[in-house]
Homo-oligomer: 421 residues x 2
């Protein structure tokens, strides 16, 4: 089935906000087996909304509108939809009660007319109860087409899509079961991965597809299975799930060095869990990453249980003073060298009193490159005080990317060290 | 004049990439005096492109297409435009020569057919020379309407918009001069600022408008002036610029405590420049921000000239060991207290050997709140060893926002301290 997305709001047309909603909605619709054939944005006027709606309904069976349902705005969307579908408005009591209860809970007076305004809904609409905000979603049907209107606030839209719209669409347009499984990898590019798993990919049955979803330093591998037969039984989805789980295990076994997690795992969360499990304290000594690794680690709630702290030593002096790196090492090999990161890692264990440390030193750029050490050269070391491993990377010329890639590759080096030690 | 944006590519419709191009283009067109009345995205097929184009041309005088011009893709956009405008294709020699010269420069063989393919252009198009990539832009005119096609790679699109499209549009649709000026503020909300500058705003002449552009912890104030008379002279734009400069000075004088810069300034760059100017070394002692402040400071190239390093002390032990915070202080007042951040700031000066330090300690959340110190409570201190100032903030419940706001407010506290000491 085809879907069309229509976003409403001048703030998108003047470029004040970037429309992240429609990419999120497209992914969710795709995962559920619906094809988004187009999307457009129109301004906050009845004429523009009706034009956009007609255009969308002429192309797709499902139209999803977002925006224009806020409490402080002149609520043009709701009025326009009522007019378009020839519907009266009526108070939706459950929505009104929810809003009143919410203001009672936060001990603020209900602003005059807010409840009445937000709970007034075209009678032809099915109400999609918004449990995370005040503006409900609306579901209209006409001549076999579905038109859904949702608030534009991202987490309210996401709640309503997940809890209401996708389940209802699946019921309204039943199709074959679709199942997705995702593996998270780090440290190898798309084309290298493709070479390594060529045989696996070629041997996949035609109802299972593999997608490569790359981001900086990481590639997600997503398997999508569609039930292969016309006939769908009660246990078809469970059978398909089992089949994909088996394929996922096969795939993970082919890439043990780069697979770090599944579905929505992040590297810093996976690493935190390993540290918790092993009962290890971890600390970092950063030069070129300048605190980025510490920031990644402490972005996870509860990180204080395994991450007591970190030092950022940009200067030679602090490398020596805080980490005990020998002046001779810095003089002879330079700050960006295997010798220096090994001493930094050792120093971090002593200074921070941790079990495991990561040290990173490199040339983030854009300046500071040397003939034998171009911008993007980064050395890193992981140590437990007895064993130390090192790695050298030569990234590119972009300072921000070099910092981010160093952080991601550094955390992955720690993860690999912990799996072996 | 009205403009319509049309993005081409399945990767947008499946939600694989977020369309940041159209927000950027909308802002630039708005700044140049053009109104974007709608935007839409279509898939990589000739039918979808032609439908989208007809729809766009029926609504606006200017249509700008992006995407579908890559060298590795089946170049459906160019062929479709040639067909739509009834134009033959021909080789554009300057484009071909540029591509050949580029591959010679990077010492790689020109891939077969790439030059011919990229340099083949519909003869009815004016070529917009792409000096930062291989796919040129194209400018078509028909029945008074302008249709421009640009590559989708953001920095190529941005180059062509700035260097070619905006200047040509201004010439093709001459209007009254428009001038913009932006002030950057930090640490006060939109509504408070509005109250403080109410008289200024009310006294603005009708041809100058003020816009509030908020982001986390910061608000940009943009003045837009449009030449007030029908008659435009050679020096009209210069006169308008002078008028706006004067207004900007008036506005900045009303908000000396929160204005930190102009146009595209960032807080960390402005702070870096002040430190360089004063010849001061600066260091940070972070608890709840966990390295985020260090990351902000070191995101600026050349930061090593004034930022030798930083410590992240999440644990009580490291606060004592690395910063000399007294155990009694931690016991009596807790890690999140004025007493502790004052000792952390003092300790940072000694440990890091810097002239100025910033210390931050707070409860980032989502857990860890206390009855008298809810999640979001953050203490910060700035010291030069002799004088120390402190600030208390109570932000919200979101961990990521608390970390970011603490960093931004912390850097601003340093900036204010430096202006007075």
């Amino acid at each position: 089935m085809n879907a069309y997305l229509l976003t409403i709001g001048d703030e998108i047309l003047i470029g004040q906000i970037i429309d992240t909603n429609s990419a999120w909605m497209s992914r969710q619709l795709n995962l559920a087996g619906f094809t988004v054939i187009g999307k457009s944005s129109v301004g906050d006027t009845a004429a523009a909304i009706i034009d956009g709606l007609k255009q969308a309904m002429s192309q797709a069976d499902i139209v999803i509108l977002t925006g224009g349902l806020g409490p402080t705005k002149d609520d043009i969307t709701k009025k326009t939809l009522a007019e378009f579908f020839g519907s009266d408005m009526a108070m939706h009591q459950e929505t009104f009660d929810r809003i009143a209860a919410y203001f009672e809970k936060i001990k603020k007076p209900l602003p005059p007319t807010l409840g009445e305004h937000q709970a007034s809904i075209p009678v032809k609409a099915d109400v999609l109860l918004n449990k995370v905000g005040t503006a409900p979603g609306m579901w209209f049907e006409e001549k076999g087409k579905v038109v859904v209107s949702l608030p534009g606030v991202p987490f309210e839209m996401e709640y309503l899509m997940s809890a209401e719209v996708i389940p209802r669409l699946k019921k309204r347009f039943p199709g074959r079961p679709i199942v997705h499984r995702t593996l998270q990898t780090v440290g190898e590019g798309e084309s290298n991965i493709a070479k390594r798993i060529e045989n696996f990919e070629n041997a996949l049955p035609s109802h299972i597809k593999l997608a490569y979803l790359p981001s900086l330093g990481q590639v997600r591998l997503r398997l999508t299975g569609i039930w292969p037969n016309e006939e769908v039984q009660v246990d078809s989805e469970a059978i398909l799930q089992k089949e994909l789980d088996t394929k996922m295990e096969e795939l993970a076994a082919l890439l043990p060095d780069i697979v770090f997690g599944k579905e929505d795992d992040s590297l810093q969360r996976v690493l935190g869990n390993i540290l918790l499990e092993k009962g290890f304290q971890f600390g970092t000594a950063e030069s070129c990453t300048g605190g980025y690794v510490a920031h990644l680690m402490t972005s996870i709630p509860g990180a204080s249980a395994y991450y007591p702290g970190s030092v950022v030593t940009y200067s030679y002096e602090l490398k020596t003073k805080l980490l005990g790196v020998k002046s001779e090492t810095l003089q002879e090999f330079g700050a960006v060298s295997e010798e220096t990161v090994v001493e930094m890692a050792q120093g971090a264990i002593n200074t921070l009193g941790v079990d495991i440390s990561l040290a990173i030193s490199g040339i983030a750029g854009p300046d500071g490159g040397l003939p034998d050490k171009p911008v993007g050269t980064v050395w890193m070391a992981v140590s437990n005080g007895k064993q130390t491993i090192t790695a050298l990377h030569v990234f590119g010329r972009d300072r921000s990317k070099n910092i981010q890639l160093s952080g991601i590759y550094g955390l992955n080096l720690v993860r690999k060290f912990l799996l072996e030690h």
